[in-house]
Symmetry: C2
Amino acid sequence: MITKINNLTNSLTLKRLGIDTLQEFVVYMRAECHVCISEGFKTQTRINISVKNKTAIATLNVIYGEILHHGEASLSESVWKYMNAEEGDEIIFSHLQPIHSLSDVRAKMYGGILDYKAAERIISDIAEGKYSNIHLAAFVTACAGERLNVNEITALTTSMVNVGSKLNWDSSVVADKHCVGGLPGNRTTPIVVAIAAAAGLTIPKTSSKAITSPAGTADTMAVFTEVDLSLAKIKEVIEKEQACIAWGGGVKLSPVDDVLIRIGKALDVDSEGQMIASVLSKKVAAGSTHVIIDIPVGATAKVRTLEKALKLKYYFYSVGNSLGLKLKVVITDGNQPVGRGVGPALEAMDVLSVLRNEPQAPKDLLQRACFIAGALLELCGNAQAGKGEQIAMEIVKTGKAWNKFYSICMAQGGFREPKYAPFSHVILAECDGVVSEIDNRKLAMAAKLCGAPDDKSAGILFNAPLEKTVNKGDTLFTIYADSKGELNYAIEYIKNESKIITIK
Amino acid sequence: MITKINNLTNSLTLKRLGIDTLQEFVVYMRAECHVCISEGFKTQTRINISVKNKTAIATLNVIYGEILHHGEASLSESVWKYMNAEEGDEIIFSHLQPIHSLSDVRAKMYGGILDYKAAERIISDIAEGKYSNIHLAAFVTACAGERLNVNEITALTTSMVNVGSKLNWDSSVVADKHCVGGLPGNRTTPIVVAIAAAAGLTIPKTSSKAITSPAGTADTMAVFTEVDLSLAKIKEVIEKEQACIAWGGGVKLSPVDDVLIRIGKALDVDSEGQMIASVLSKKVAAGSTHVIIDIPVGATAKVRTLEKALKLKYYFYSVGNSLGLKLKVVITDGNQPVGRGVGPALEAMDVLSVLRNEPQAPKDLLQRACFIAGALLELCGNAQAGKGEQIAMEIVKTGKAWNKFYSICMAQGGFREPKYAPFSHVILAECDGVVSEIDNRKLAMAAKLCGAPDDKSAGILFNAPLEKTVNKGDTLFTIYADSKGELNYAIEYIKNESKIITIK
């Protein structure tokens, strides 16, 4: 124990163990190391760490084995990267100061009001990584169950914007669209952006990669061109084409949003307040002024009832107005996949055939995209009320949308044609009848088992929309995979799940 | 990727890495291992694991380095021990089934009522380790903020009892006492048990070790004798002496309680409902029938106002009655430490000098113990109303309490005298005046920095009670430590903290 006196500096040397704990920052130390003993650190203690003048907070996991030697410490991968750490770096430890904003969380737990000051304290502490999963879950829970009113959601949204980057554009009208999500193949965004930009709107679109779905807009766009653009590159593309379709993760808009989404998913809680704040904080941070929100409603979509959709609509309008956004909410049919493809490349093919006016282009995708683009043109004053959809359709039919889309891709880094995966298997109807029900969730799961979104060409080509009459032996859908193993894995799942497509 | 087809069994070989994550069960696998790829497991996925027919649920951390080789997996220490795993064991993986009780948690989040069925589903899933920290924090938060009514607390308590062991005793009156806690040196339990047993009561006392305080009753008792007793041994001791003072952790009473306490501590939330359920579930599980609850009230104690104490009292009575407990709540002074010692051995010395009627025995500890023992004797019908305290005092004065205490220790495994630690340092008054305020929390922190409770003899000998007149240079307290390093560490802290003891 006397060693302690000789070791008054609380520092150790970093060794990389390569342990991935996702966003949670974890620090590893030997149980008997002088820092643990002298500071009284134990497993789960949250500790201030500092490497090369960069600081963070991490949770301690104590090591009893020989994977760390005397005088060594390690960091989980996320914090290793965050600190730009290198093997051999000195890491310095100190006690965590109390997290004062936790008393704001407790106040909300006890039925208090989340005012702007409290929201700001909480959100900036979360942004600095001070909250553990336990703290985050408490905050999400305290705000769930419709416990946030419009003022509180506005406070939350504003403070979420303020902790991230904020983009500024020269144009006084900056268009945007957002889909609340949950519908496989619903890839309207590339088409809407192309139409809007061709009509003269500025539309710097940032999109997400899939987290639990078989493809996000950023995954589909990555089939065509580069999407991981720096802020400087985005500005260059906008300067040239007035539009881009980039991955939002590269520009750190509303960084706390991703953290809260992860907790919400683990709890399977769709807190209205949090969803509104999530969507609108990203729009405001992106510098958008005019936004269309698409809410698909269906039994296996994210929003399951019209009642719920109308409530969300009310919140979007109220909070959006407080934030100075011009906003229109459209409620759309969410009962079945849109287009034919589910998976990045297969959805890219749908987008391409619509933009190129090919005869086999999926009509539902074309109509949906023109409906949304039309609403956006009207909202921005680029089309008379009731004329937007027709104008959008003309922009597609005349090839202007395709030209614009191609130019955007070229500005982002080039254009690639989507390709089919090498292995495929056809799923056939087992009886005659009419398609009466489609389970969007199970269809998405099958596409993911094929390898989507990581394998860009993997997924499902869907051929059995609702109310279609099919005969035994007709193709319901085709699955595509990069390896025979993944193909078999998906076939196995489809065989075991009886109600992916119901034929009556 | 084709390897997957040759690896249809989802199994790997266990290697011990020695990573301690506390109660959280973590499984480690290489990112590119066939199990991760074929099952789609990613970091933070919760997975069913099975080793030698024992199963559990663990959270995945993916490894990118070489600390695991191809075909190997590892487990964090808690789950390694839980599974009785050995190096080289086969570990089998499968997807987690949905945790249905999470919908009960969500219902509570959304303002629903936690009925008995729901409480039972939640508590048994927690007992089986199915909840992650995020799920646990959501449950604790959903129940905090006074959102549990008496019926819900009763449901929670009952289901917490039902998932653990339950003790049964031959006697129809089984006495017990509990202190809500937070007061350094408040070690009445050994004295109360000795008095009650000497008066003929059956009192099988199970106590806790310190989690955040410098000593728990089990830590102090461990100075005298063995406390880590099996259920069989406890029964043997009770048969002989009608009483024991054992560590409760060895007999798994209300195991979910420890889990919820850990989350409550991380959130610094003292949810009333959870505290009532915590205390009463352990009493019912221990087979107690007559219980005294001691609530010390003071500015730096756990319960800070009389109003809060009275509300707790109401809940204890209501829920206790529903569970068939005879219960009396006493509200006591919580403004300063009790006795002189703070730390296991120093508190043990106080207990001993009270039981042995030594002239220097701390009067406040004697009086407090007799007050509680007297209330217990009255509650159990062993003393007339108003006579209990006097009877208790006589049992101490005649040496019967000491004889009983010594016999209990001998039955538990022998009797040891407490000893002072080798290093000490005296803290002196820096001015003349009267002691006007004592910060219990800072005093406890100083005792912990000395090494308590792990170093049994470490801690504080306190000599400056409220309203005592002191002169500059008088001893306020003495600190004791096993090493000079720890002593210096505590001195440093005391020097930097100005208001541990306020003299006016």
